[in-house]
Amino acid sequence: MSAGRRGRGSVAAALLVAVLAWVVLYPLLIVAADALRGDVLAVVRSRAEWLALWDSVWIAIASVALAAAIGVPLAFLFERFDFPGRGVLGALMALPAVLPPLVGVIAFLFLYGESGFVARAVMAVFGLREAPWRLQGAGAILLVHAYSMYVYFYLFTRAGLARLDESMLEAAASLGAGRWRTIRRVTLPLLRPVLAGAALLTFMTALASFSAPYLFGGSFRVLTTQIVATKLNGDLPTAMVETLALTVVALAGYAFLRLGEGRGLLVAVGKGTAPRPRRIASAALRRLTAAAGWGLAALLLLPHLTLLLVSLVPDGTWTTQALPPRYTLANFAALVTEAERLRPLLNSLWMAAVATAAAVAAALLAGHLVVRLRARLARPIEWLLTLPWVVPGTVLAIGLATTFGVTRPLAGRFVLVGTALILPLAYFVRSLPLTGRAVLAGYRQLDPALEEAAQSLGAGRWKRLWRVTVPVLRPALAAGGGLAFVTALGDFVTSVLLYTYDTRPISIEILSSLRLEQVGAAAAFGVVLMAVSAAALGVGARVGGTR
């Protein structure tokens, strides 16, 4: 490493830290400053505020418990036992992951809501005049959370079990431990880092969850929805205090759960081969398991199917019937032919693409500085890349709205709110942890000798980047970029606070279609979003998978 290169690296690192701090950390500090300047005590004394805080926390904890209760046993079932259809069903169990949050919520609305398919079926069977339930409140939120978040526990636990060393279980057995004792004393403790990782992911996601509480909460308020409501009411000082409170809870939860992850015990000792799945002995039980698996897969697939079905229903043709009487492609045709429908689609596509490209570029620079040059600012860079993941999207959006809602050039504040730049900026900030984590991990596995070999063969900096680093990092870039693109494309939580009419994204159009009772149009948008997400993730996996 020459003095010149290290010197340029330091300058680049300082610049990157400055830019990241400006768009990630600075808005949070401004929120904190504004919050503390207001009448904090009045907010702290308010019962409603404490209630929202408490609701946020217990919903998040309950979501973790529910997700673990579903995901962990499923992971054991699919990783440890063999039965017909295990491979296909095991993959289908991850289906909820391809539904962007808002799309999942409206699918639940169409399926289990008051006028959804299930309610109509029950009414038809029992001859009821009104829906027997309302999809509202904490129960409804938890239902959606359990459906969408058990996937984290399921995937993490399966990966952990697959890396477990069979000889350790055999050692336990040879020491006289029975099956349950082995699970309790050996398997679960070894899985602790994995379970803690899943718990962390679930907790942060549930705490930041916005779509489900927004649509199903009703009078039940969590902090994210409370913040948006307070801001819409024009009570900015209170909104700032609430935002600060949510930030503190998120940081505390993150710190607490990171402690639980501990060291990578599993990785350190997991050297042998994982136990092979055992064929279920009893034929009857085997068939029963397979049947239950298919039943569960159908249940998981119902929201997707519902969305597809509703998207084929022309507006105004489905009133009281249990099933819609007519199906056409009119809603999809409208997406392309009506300029006002096409626009949000194009908006979301270009904004997500720009934000993803910028986040991938930032991650590449960060990877080079942190891993290759071991810049002195490596830690701050990694921290700033992680922060937007720890902090809920609502907080990021409020921070950006506050910081870039006024012009004070000396304080680095410019009016971006109301311009076409604010949403791509918000998506960029939200994408940073996704691309950052993937690219840093990729960079750490990249043999530095590859770049050196290129260098000794006469390749300059750009040739090394384009001919060696980027192609070799392609799996990481595709994985991080795909995830970032999908998240930005389906974004609702920051869009709802920052969008302008001209740059409204898909999620906002879905919401206004719902308000206008154009459920078919809303569902069509949802289907498109789901399809593009699945395609982007699939392409990411394909591009990442070759060679």
């Binding site: 043999d447 050196e452 260098q455 000794s456 063969l457 001919r467 060679r547």
Partner: protein
Amino acid sequence: MSGGPFLSIQGLGKTFADRPAVADLTLEVGRGEVLALLGPSGSGKTTTLRLLAGFETPDTGRIVVAGEDVTDVRPEARRFGMVFQHYALFPHLDVGANVAFGLAFRGDVQARRVAEVLAMVDLAGYERRAVGELSGGQQQRVALARSLAPEPRVLLLDEPLSNLDPSLRERTRKELRRAITRVGITTVFVTHEQEEAFDLGDRVAVLHAGRLEQVGTPDDLYDAPATPFVARFIGRVNVLPGERAGGAPGSVALVRPEALRFTGDASAPFAGTVTERRFVGDRAYFVVEAADGTSFEVLAPHGAAVVGDTVRAVVENVLFREQGAR
């Protein structure tokens, strides 16, 4: 060395976090000569190679090649070819594209050069193969071809055989030797294996704790070590009390096993019981344990003694004497 030094290393020094990795290293390599950098791990041999390649910048000293000072020349402009320990073949490119990577020209000229270099390492026609499909030895030859393709001024090899199966090493070593000779390129390579250094290197530079201990032909190093370290590091050596080998009290004598001779003379200074016999051809190494618990090795005709015999030995030739405790 013929025609004066082609590559000259002058007073090279590099310190990492207060620990000197290379200190005041001066070496000269003739045109077409093959120099081995031999030393234990942490001796600074790899750092020296990386300084030569330009991946590290020296704190002191100069590197001159063909009269040009390249100390501050960036690696991509230095025209030194390097073969990495784990080859560092680009996994996303096929064999041909790997070899062509460093070539400035394109099209037919490029294809011809690639074919030519691949033929040189006995891999003619391998252009479209994926590098992942190749065996370790083939990967190494691709790496060699890739580094030779742009006609570098100096070839650098980092532990060229360490990544290969022991059974493959000898053959690969011969192939490597042949390829280097055919090209006639000035070569510096790093190894921690004496056999490899002696077999491939015209001269061998022994490094220890960042310093050059001695540079010379394998014969020089074995017969006339310049320092106690070289004496101990090259070949096998016994460390014996000096006063019993004709030296001053308190000194130690370094003696090769073949410089000890069994004798029936009861006044011979070294005595003990044979505890081990290891065959090497018609001779054997005898491990002799003395009454005081120390032991030494004697190389003698295999029938000279059997395990359990009480034997005596005299010193015929002391390699090196030094003051201080054993």
